[in-house]
Symmetry: C2
């Protein structure tokens, strides 16, 4: 295992400690639960709090999306494991400044169940809590079972738009609506070239041949759609983009935001080569690219691979996406 770590059992807690020492002006640890980080200063009074959470090993997901214009608190699980329900409840409590809390998470069973339990307990305390799950990964289920789809890098757009809605003072119902509307018009498709090794087991998350790639693979190594020989970047970009565009109904004059996301070991140069192809393809369709994000926004430790996400924009989502958002862990494009 080629990782810089001490006792694997301490991997997450030591990383959190380093994070807090590095960014003392941005994050604070929750007073009662060390697996909860909050935005320094908390949710501004009267604003809806946004909470997220999930397994570790995906930085800047999830905790990197805590900050002004983004989430207020995050519950942190072990590597590739759901956050606990205790942490989920502590994060909801920490984020609630009285206007209610949106829990915005990826659609994974453990993450969902523990946040549902926490939301029930929080509501029993008189808090208003709503849960919205991102399921942008088109490879993970067919359109007729879209509710079963996993959340991957496209959740970044939901953090940005819902975070901006909360920051401008929208009610909980309105922030929920923005999150749901953003997710409804976001699609992602990824490709994996190599596996990641889990710190606790020292074993790869999946097996893949030296010349193979897997289209549609999940960020924990969940099986994708097609495994085959590695092909040229333009072909791979076309494959990913075709799957994404097939469900968005874009045409001449449509406006989109694009995220070309690196899974960990893939270089920025390669991501820009993919972005180049995406721009050419969308220009040929007469689709306007309002903004392109290129970088590591949702990773799987040292996994090689990438994903392409597209968000179909309207005027309101454009304005929300363009509103300020700040976190030291997220590339500057957001």
């Amino acid at each position: 295992m080629k990782k810089l770590l001490n006792d694997p059992a301490d991997f997450v807690d030591e990383a959190l400690e380093g994070l807090l020492l590095t960014h003392p002006g941005h994050f604070a640890a929750d007073e009662r639960n060390p697996r909860v980080l909050v935005r320094k200063g908390g949710t501004p009074a009267g604003q809806v709090g946004i909470v997220t959470g999930g397994g570790s090993g995906h930085l800047p997901l999830f905790l990197g999306y805590v900050g002004p214009g983004l989430a207020s608190a995050v519950a942190v699980g072990n590597v590739f494991s759901a956050q606990s329900s205790d942490a989920a409840l502590a994060a909801i409590r920490a984020a609630d400044s009285g206007a209610g809390v949106l829990v915005l998470i990826g659609n994974y069973t453990g993450d969902r169940l523990n946040f549902e339990l926490a939301a029930d307990l929080a509501e029993a305390e008189g808090r208003k809590v709503r849960i919205v799950r991102a399921g942008d990964d088109v490879a993970s289920a067919p359109p007729e079972r879209a509710g079963d789809r996993r959340g991957v890098a496209g959740i970044v757009f939901a953090y940005s738009c819902a975070g901006a809605a909360a920051a401008r003072g929208d009610t909980l119902e309105d922030v929920v609506a923005v999150a749901e509307r953003t997710i409804a018009v976001t699609r992602t498709m990824g490709v994996g070239l190599s596996a990641t090794v889990l710190p606790t087991t020292g074993r790869p998350s999946f097996e893949i041949g030296a010349d193979e790639m897997e289209i549609g693979i999940g960020i924990h190594g969940e099986p994708g759609r097609v495994r085959g020989p590695l092909r040229p970047a333009d072909d791979v970009a076309d494959d990913l983009l075709d799957s994404v565009l097939a469900e968005l109904g874009l045409g001449p004059g449509s406006r989109v935001a694009v995220l070309v996301n690196g899974l960990g070991a893939t270089s920025p140069e390669e991501l820009y080569i993919l972005a180049r192809r995406v721009h050419h393809r969308l220009a040929a369709l007469d689709v306007e690219v309002h903004r392109t994000l290129v970088g590591e926004f949702a990773t799987s430790m040292e996994m090689a691979g990438a994903s392409i996400s597209v968000l179909a924009l309207d005027d309101e989502l454009t304005a929300l996406l363009d509103a300020p958002a700040d976190s030291p862990l997220v590339p500057r494009g957001l």
Copy 2:
């Protein structure tokens, strides 16, 4: 070779094309040399222009450091190969708004020779040009041959401080002095855990065993000081930090900036584990950490590993480091 690319011969040019399509408001291509990128709008009138350049494969180095508060133009070479003297000259011309040009590069033979030739030609055109070379890598030569040392991630501090000096209107001599002074108090030491594969050859940049690490390795795989079994992160951090601190003469009350840099495949979690140890060590020495940068600031494509840089701050360097700098490729900490 597990890379997303088309014809390897097009790797750099396609990445540049994608970069320009992604960041149209930030970069522009030089009109006469496609291997030169300039800051959109050019060097503000009356300001010293800063030029950098070098081989590709190190993003965000070098071109990511073009932007307000940073460099004005960059000359881009092939992967791990120096920029041409033609590109170097075009970059100097593009950056010169009349107040002269600082060429700020890493200390590598090819980069240096081609920029020296370009500077001679530019001076023959009546331009004022000065070259400053960063040589922060303590592993690459002993202190008595510090002039032979390679430049690695610590050059980031020089971009920031010299860029801020240029932005506030310093003369060329003063910007040069700031760059030299920053480099004189910056030290870096790295560790490599795995090699990168070169797009054009498909071969790894060096060989290393499955359980080995190499302390002091260069960002192109240049030999380091010690190769041995991979050790716990805290031991590695201590090794790197000890080498860096040995030459900086820090004591109680000293103030520093720290850069924990990932070489490509090492996860942010691991970098924060290293940052944690660095903070503990510096706190024990009663050294104040003014700012910590954690992330990928200077990479070697998919190489696993990290480096630790320390900049010894005085009041002026602190103010320059804190001045605004902007590039979409550089993590937000800078």
